[in-house]
Structures are given as C-alpha cells and as structure tokens.
Amino acid sequence: MKIAPVAAAASLALISLFSQRTARSQAEAPLFDAIVGVLQSPRCMNCHPSGDAPLQTDASRPHKQNIQRAFVDLGGSCQTCHQDAEMPGDHMPPGALHWNLPPPTMAFQGKTPAALCADLQDETKNGGRSLDALVHHVSTDPLVLWGFDPGPNRTPPPMTHAAFVALMTDWVAEGAPCPN
C-alpha cells in the first residue's frame, strides 16, 4: 500500500501519541478524536451516510443515478455495478468483496464525536459487534482495506491502515473512552 506523506506524518504523530500516553480523563479521549478523523473521512463516511443515499467522491456528494438504500430490495444491489474487484480502465466503478451499504444505525456522517463514539460501541446499533469485533472488522474487512487503498483520484483516510488498527486496538485497550 502506498503511504502518502500526509498519512505517514499522521502515523508518526499517532505513534508519538501512544508513547506519551498518560492517564487522561474521558472528556479528552484523544484516541477517539483521532479515530473520528478516519471514520468521517470520505472513504469511510461515504458508505456510512446519515441519509438514504450512499455518498461519492472526496466531496461526499450523493451517489449519482439517485441510488438509494431501497435499491437493494427492488431488484438491484451494490453488486449491480460494484464487483469484487475494480475492472481495469478509467472511470470504472470501484470494487471490493461484498460492496454494500451498512444500515442507518451505523451512520458516521453528521455525528458529534461523543455520539459517534457511543453508537460505535452500542451493539444494538453496530451489528452486534463487541469492541474486539470492531477491531477485527477494521483489521480485516475487505471494504475497510479498500478504503485505505482506494486507487487514484480518491483521498485515503488521514493515516495508514496499520496505524488505524493500532489506534483502535489501543482505544479498546484503554476501555474505549468517549469524549463528552
């Protein structure tokens, strides 16, 4: 995976953050603040929208062709256009295994860090995932992996995948503190 200079700098900053870790109040929750920066980056948030339409591009605009959540119940699916891998050529739809739109309870868009933090660990909203399962999800899910290596013309999240997994692991190890 290519590491953009900005992402590399962010990773180094996080490593520094980890090494300087001290007891902090929940009100600060610096680890989650860094996590928010990833979750609400276009590559993650575009498929975790608050509305009924997936989002597209670094501008996070609604999906062209008026694609809505209901499309999957009306004879179509994300796989109508998004395959297991991107076909060669310009302007092809991006692809990864089981391309799909999570339910509205898993929305990242428009939430405060505190609300997002609470929802992320609420098993009634996060697909029944424990905190360890969340770390597993961000470590291995093909769509998450695609988000960190999204191909040309798509800005990746502001750190490497390895740094993000380390960040999530550390956050969970600290008891998943949330900002106020």
Binding site: F71, G75, G76, T80, Q83, M87
Partner: protein, 150 residues
C-alpha cells in the same frame, strides 16, 4: 469456463477479465444487450446474473463462471413475449430503442422482487437506466401494466 446463458450451459474460452457484455455480444452473438457507456453509468447492458440485475459491461467473465445469465433474448420471443415485453409493445414505449433491453431487464428484476411496485419504487429501481429519448413516463406505465396494476 462454463456460463449458463439463457438456460444453456456454454463452454467458453475467453479471458477471465473479458467483460460479460463482450462474451454475450462478440462470442455468443447475443446482440440484444447493448453497449452504452462501458462504465456502468447508463444501464443499457443490464442482464441478470443469478436473477440479479447487473451491468454486464463491468462484470468480468470470471464473475459469471458457473452462474446463470439471462439476457433480453432469454425472457421471451416475438411469438411469445414476456409480459414486460408485451407491455412495452402495447405502450409503444421505445423511441430510438437503444436503451430498452436494459430497461426491460431492470424492470423484470424489479417485478421479481415487487409484484406491484409503486411509482416511487419504480423510480428507485430504474434510476440507473438512462434513456436519452426521455421515455421514462411510458416505461413506468408499462411496468404497472406488466404488474397487472393498470
């Protein structure tokens, strides 16, 4: 590889990366499925892959291996058209006609999931199929007719 097309298993010696659309049109000479944009933006190439609507221009042949593909030629004949095709003819839906096989395949996929769709459901289901002639009102009406709602 073997791909079942319109109920017939076809043994194909093609690149796994060849778009399914080329397999259908160039190899099997099933030219009812049209090339529009080549990047899944217009819907003209829509076929069914295991009963799911897909844009065949962006589906690699390898993704169809061992699966069942249905094209516009597989749903009906001039003598015995599919109810959707019959409704299309009765309503004089096509203008230039180029996008219509893709439109019909998406419409059939819709009725497989919703026997009597609402206008709103039709609009969502068909929004990925573009018609430059603007036949959308007749398309919606024909879907209602095929569903028995008109």
């Amino acid at each position: 590889m073997i791909i079942t097309v319109n109920g017939i298993p076809r043994t194909l010696e093609v690149s796994p990366q060849m778009p399914l659309l080329w397999v259908l049109r160039d190899v099997l000479e099933l030219t009812g499925t049209k090339f529009g944009c080549g990047v899944a933006q217009c819907g003209a190439c829509t076929v069914h892959l295991d009963n799911q609507a897909v844009r065949s221009c962006v589906v690699p042949a390898s993704a169809a291996e061992g699966k069942s593909v249905t094209t516009i030629e597989g749903i009906g004949t001039p003598e015995a058209p599919h109810p959707m095709q019959a409704a299309w003819i009765a309503g004089n839906v096509p203008q230039c006609g180029y996008c219509q096989s893709g439109q019909i395949m998406s419409a059939c996929a819709l009725l497989n999931r919703r026997a009597t769709p609402t206008d709103a459901e039709i609009d969502v289901a068909m929004s990925g199929n573009i018609c430059r002639c603007g036949t959308y009102p007749r398309i919606r009406e024909a879907i209602h007719v095929a569903a028995g709602g008109r």
